[in-house]
């Protein structure tokens, strides 16, 4: 049985539910493309909205995204 804390977590997740969502694997498959668009200043949220939406709600995928941005900013590809 849920308590108030658990209920809030669940309802937040329900609030952000969309009819179409990428799985973590599907988001991961496109993340390199998404990050390069971001670093090139090309509005990845508009070009790849499903990836953007997944990153807004999935903490683990967002961690991977942020790490990749950090890595590429510190070590730009030759």
């Amino acid at each position: 049985m849920l308590n108030a804390n658990s209920l809030k977590k669940l309802v937040r997740a329900v609030l952000h539910t969309r009819e179409q969502e990428l799985t973590c694997q599907e988001c991961f498959d496109q993340l390199d493309q998404f990050v390069e668009l971001q670093l090139d200043g090309k509005q990845p949220a508009e070009a790849m909205p499903l990836v953007q939406e997944h990153l807004e709600t999935c903490g683990n995928c967002r961690d991977t995204f942020e790490a990749l941005v950090l890595v590429l900013e510190k070590n730009p590809s030759p």
Binding site: L2, N3, L10, R12, A13, D32, L68
Partner: protein
Amino acid sequence: MKDRTNQEWLDELRGPDAAPAIADLRMILFRGLRAALSGRIRSDLESVLEDFTQDALLKVLDNLHTFRGESRLTTWAQKIAIHVAYSELRRRRWKDISLQSIIENPDGADFTPALLTDPNALPEKQASQNDLLAFVNRMIEEELTERQRTAIQAVIIGGMPIGEVAQRMETNSNALYKLIHDARKRLKARMIENGISPEDVLDAFS
């Protein structure tokens, strides 16, 4: 370090004299992982970095055939390296935690009926909270399968990474994501049917 196009990387890594390209790629992955992990691992960073770099390099080389050329090969490889490292760190973090324990103890605190609602709320607000709690608990029982309830409790409420839960439920993370997504959609539809918006529920508990 030599500049390479994607095609040059692929040709050299697959070619008869792959050693220089592999060495360069290893260096790129090592530096990238150091940047990604230096805030997360304090002790023994160098040895952990070596292990993760080696694992990542092998995974990249094994999966070259899946590279679609939609980004720089080095970006794609760095992504794989981060995934290898973070997955292993999550596995270590969660390895001693069973599914049952996360379900029984999702908030890391003892379940106490007195904490079901906000003890500082006015009686009227508490009554409204109690009604909403009762509705949501009933909705979960009626709308979801037992497997969906387990998945939701572990991933959404307990915060266990989806890959870790999938392994314990003997499935893969794609299938589990879809199971949870279906569950969320059912709950959302049921709330809408009953004229209760998720925002209203969150407001009632704010």
